[in-house]
Subunit: 504 residues, 2 copies
């Protein structure tokens, strides 16, 4: 078999393996390759081939005949130096694709079938198109509860698992859609100060203006290896780290990268996604927060209940005891939206300052309280008071500072976006609604979370009165282009509804 | 809005619009773009934006900051010179994607919804992932007959149509899967010689070793513009051209480019695909040939009947009268597989040579006869005899030669692949089966249809006896690599089943 020399092509094709072949290359002609054929790349010694989609190139500066150009993703997976000879051939369709066709035809699949599909997905044997076909095949009309369980198990089994050696390992997840909702950074110190094990790994923001990992990174290093995590958690009982270094439920990330462009968010996939990550992270108790509201991810109480039932069904069968709380999701929590602004809110609460955002403090205490009640020795209803004591006594702040030291305090100077502008009320009246989606969008355009000092600082919340011209919120940006885009978005849709009232 | 300068990137991304942005580009940072975001490219003057998927580049030799690198497909669609300033922004999801979500959730869609989806698809607003979601949503379990009709209509309406000004315009389609089945090149001359209008446009092979267009191209130019087609058909009553220059049902080609990697072939999609092309081509009568056999596309009589009913239902409602014939599909038709070899078979039949492949002659006469019976003046059952007379009298040959002259005789010297090897029988006995898929595969590896002289020449058919060592078929290839691959494939699976018999 003729070989091709590897050549790194500096193109990020985002979670899809792409390789490049020159149209004049002999191998291209003979194998009947055509752009978008899937091929297997074999290293000299036997091993797992890497699957990729083929694009054909006509510029030898990108890839010349005799070379195999590989995108950044492929380069990482192959882990071979440029110039290495490799062989390529047509990729046989993944064996599990037949199960996908069965699913499309309305059949229920077994655990073994979900496992094989997950295996093939994690080995990059599935193109985005095939993943889309799988996801749509599983869409609501045809995804039995047991199938959600099988898929969740498969997603755990095709990745690594963290083990903590204790029977009580707690975790928390918020379904999301509410900007500024940084309760995790309060809950972990409170719960760890109590002595409960809460090794929290979080993701970076995908579509929101800040994820827990992005926000914590303002204060400390979050990029920790599993061994470091273990040490920190052993000492401190908790951590706030980025989950990307442990290979937890990797199929989840791949599925999400296709679900998102499709705006698909079926309950079954949501449950499988969340629970697979938590089980892989070693949790034995999980608190799930479902914020409800017209612009939240879950919009009706009925949908929230249905989701809860599915969480309970799957969790119970995976040795993950969980509690679901349905909370208010009608406006952003706290005042800051964006990493530094949210960190400010969190520190204000930990420091028990009088100007701390009360809604964030209250929600964190409620949720921390529920988590504390996973402890057999804590009476039902007592959790909140214990949490409040830990917070008011300063033990939560001390624990946070200890966690920060253990992970590695951030010493890089950070500052709020130097370009800022206050958006003012268009009329006097009462604030009746704040659009979560629009506020998050403005914060992202302003540069969050990439620019840690970018985002939106809310001065007014729903129910409050404003005078015309009074600042509703301030936009912070680090770069002029972001600044302009965010201002323009706010001009087009201010995100606040102010209703005139006759009297104040 | 800041602009980017267009830069042509010589990458063929095959029916998916891809553009390239440098990671250091200000626009990338500010807009929150991420690889695989969909973006809209706007020209300076208002017009239809071109939608594309974004890949991020880190090599300024491919695309530098301030530039928008565009793949070959995008370059063709934008039709602007490199260096032209354009603006880009996030593509709003196509409005019709909501209908796709409804379909995924099990609802039946209206004509208007299918039309809007088709419009968005033809305007490149759908990524491959979204098209996959649409196709799977329509999969067998949820695609009512009326929906097949609506989709077919939409696929016609979102392209161009050919009109011939006569009430009787005939066409033919074979469901496929049978190599060497070049009846069209016999039927058109026969039917045109009778005076019936048969303006045949065909496609090039996608997965088979030769399409009608590839094979006809051995004899004449097939790349004709609609106006040229019209002139030729006016004079000759028929033509055998490539359909790619008239924009007939373009959504069909886009859907096929996603269906194929997914190996999806639902009856509804098949019917919509075939009938939309025929209606757009201006046909008023259509003969559909469904070859049946264990390795053909349609495998059981029941499936063939179900397909027939669906064809009839949709055809009747689109002023396309059709007849469906179910024919034998258990082995290749004729002897040649590959453009030149199949042309040889066709010419042998037209020239009425005694060594002409009888199965090809017979099948062509049967089908031509059925088409002739679309003529009100031809009695049922008479068509075959009229066809045979036209063939035996030499009028079909004369008509073919006239069509070849009119389209433009091919003057390039062509020759059979100079590398050839006979594959011999592994034992003496009777040939009980020939695997259509394997023979087609060997022919493709040998280089067909790209290399017109490549392919397979069958010496023996099923039912015939062979001695051990006797040639079953000969492989022809133009290039050593193809030659080796084809031989290797034949070694691994000869494609013929020879059963020992006690007596000859």
């Amino acid at each position: 078999m003729p070989t091709l020399k590897l050549r790194s092509v500096a193109i990020d094709t985002y979670r899809e393996n792409v390789v490049y072949l020159h149209r004049g290359c002999t191998l291209y002609r003979s194998e009947g390759f055509q752009a978008l054929n899937k091929i297997e790349i074999h290293k000299e010694e036997n091993g797992q081939p890497v699957i990729a989609v083929l694009n054909i190139v006509e510029d030898a500066n990108i890839t010349a005949p005799g070379e195999l150009g590989i995108s950044e993703q492929v380069f990482e997976q192959l882990n071979l130096p440029p110039g290495t000879p490799v062989t390529v051939k047509h990729a046989t369709p993944p064996a599990s694709i037949e199960a996908v066709h069965d699913k499309i035809n309305g059949e229920a699949l077994s655990y073994e079938q979900y496992f094989r599909i997950s295996q093939d997905i994690v080995e990059n044997r599935y193109s985005k198109i095939e993943i889309a076909a799988f996801l749509v095949g599983c869409a609501e009309t045809g995804f039995e509860r047991d199938e959600v369980l099988y898929l969740t198990r498969s997603m755990v089994e095709t990745g690594d698992r963290l083990e903590w050696g204790e029977s009580l390992v707690v975790d928390k997840h918020c379904i999301g859609g509410i900007p500024g909702n940084r309760t995790t950074m309060l809950i972990v110190p409170i719960v760890a100060a109590h002595g409960m094990l809460m090794p929290k790994t979080s993701s970076r923001a995908i579509t929101s203006p800040a994820g827990t990992a992005d926000t914590m990174e303002v204060l400390a290093n979050v990029d920790l290896q599993p061994e470091e995590l273990r040490n920190i958690v052993q000492q401190q009982r908790g951590c706030l780290a980025w989950g990307g270094n442990a290979r937890l439920a990797p199929v989840d990330d791949i599925l999400i990268s296709v679900e998102r462009p499709l705006s698909m968010d079926s309950p079954g996939q949501m449950v499988a996604s969340i629970l697979s990550k938590k089980v892989a992270a070693g949790a034995t108790r999980l608190l799930i927060d479902i914020p409800l509201g017209p612009t939240a991810k879950v919009r009706t109480h009925r949908d929230a209940l249905r989701l809860r039932k599915l969480f309970e069904y799957v969790g119970d069968r995976m040795q993950l005891e969980l509690e679901v709380v349905i909370t208010g999701g009608s406006q952003p929590i706290g005042r800051g939206i964006g990493p530094m602004l949210e960190t400010r809110d969190v520190m204000q609460v930990l420091e028990c300052r009088p100007d701390a955002p009360m809604d964030l403090r209250e929600k964190a205490l409620q949720l921390a309280g529920r988590i504390l009640e996973f402890d057999a020795d804590v009476r039902g209803g007592e959790g909140y008071h214990i949490a409040r004591d830990i917070l008011d006594s300063g033990r939560a702040l001390a624990k946070m500072e200890a966690i920060i030291e253990a992970q590695g305090k951030n010493t890089r100077p950070l500052q709020l976006g130097r370009l800022h502008h206050a958006i003012t009320a268009p009329r006097s009246g009462k604030i009746t609604m704040i659009d979560n989606l629009q506020m998050a969008s403005i914060a992202r355009l302003a540069g969050a979370p990439l620019d840690k000092g970018a985002g939106v600082d809310l001065h007014k919340k729903t129910g409050e009165h404003v005078e015309m011209g009074e600042p509703l919120y301030t936009i912070y940006a680090a770069f002029p282009a972001n600044y302009e885009f965010a201002l323009e978005a706010a001009r087009q849709d201010i995100g606040y509804t102010v209703k005139e009232t006759d009297s104040k």
